[in-house]
């Protein structure tokens, strides 16, 4: 019962984990903006999650025609985790460093706001649950 209650929270928490990982990667990119031969990295997550959720939707539709209760642990969304990808394709400067500080700065801003938004949603989920429980 608890797992069903916290379905949304668990998904949002995955987003928070991904945003945190991405923050670490962006910070490392910015820290190494002047390091010779350093290649920047990024974090993929959203597209994998989108894929998993649409797979789940298809699975859901199949399950609602059957009497078995839906089991969240079957969902593909639960297995999605953030992946760190190093960008070895672009050569940006003469010292072999391909960090674009302006790009990283905008990514930092976007990611921070994403983290804020996810936190807000988690808070809102929790207060909905608390209201539902205590009437």
């Amino acid at each position: 019962m608890i797992n069903e209650m916290f379905e949304n929270v668990n998904l949002l928490q995955k987003g928070l984990d991904a945003a945190w990982t991405r923050n670490g990667v962006i910070m490392n990119n910015i820290a190494n903006v002047d390091t010779a031969n350093f290649k920047s990295s990024s974090v993929t997550f959203e597209s994998a999650m989108k894929q998993a959720l649409s797979e789940d939707e298809i699975k859901f539709e199949a399950k609602t025609t059957r009497p078995e209760h839906y089991d969240f642990s079957d969902s593909a969304a639960e297995d999605v985790s953030p992946t760190v990808v190093t960008d070895t394709d672009t050569d940006y400067r003469m010292d072999g460093n391909n960090v674009d500080i302006d790009y990283e700065s905008t990514e930092l801003a976007k990611n921070t706001l994403w983290y804020y938004e996810l936190s807000e949603q988690v808070s809102s989920e929790f207060s909905k649950l608390k209201t539902a429980i205590s009437g």
Binding site: W20, N23, M27, V33, T35, I101
Partner: protein, 139 residues
Amino acid sequence: MGFLSSIDISGSALTAQRLRMDVISNNIANAETAETENGEPYRRKVCVLSERRSFSSVLGDQIGSGVKVSEITEDDSDFELEYDPDNPLANAEGYVQMPNVDEIEEIIDLMEATRSYEANVTAMNATKSMAIKALEIGG
């Protein structure tokens, strides 16, 4: 990985860039030093930056741990020659060897180091505000 160790990533950059700024300032300060203890003019110093890797990070070592100044080397390029026959250090042709420091280049480097420093301060502040926001979860 320690608590909020991601902030250490930016912290390492602040340390490294500050050291780099010190080295550049030293170059600028000694741009006219024609004679040092070893008899030669001041030789330009350069900071070599390299990525710091921690082996205990949560995602294996996929996320680097920032940057460090791995060494401070001397610039091997030739000394400048300045025509100054009245100078006691002048050679037979009247030229004095001067440090291989190009002040304009150093100032540009200094501006770059400052800009990197600021970008890392911004990154650190972003992380801090994210963490504070997380504390507000659940009211």
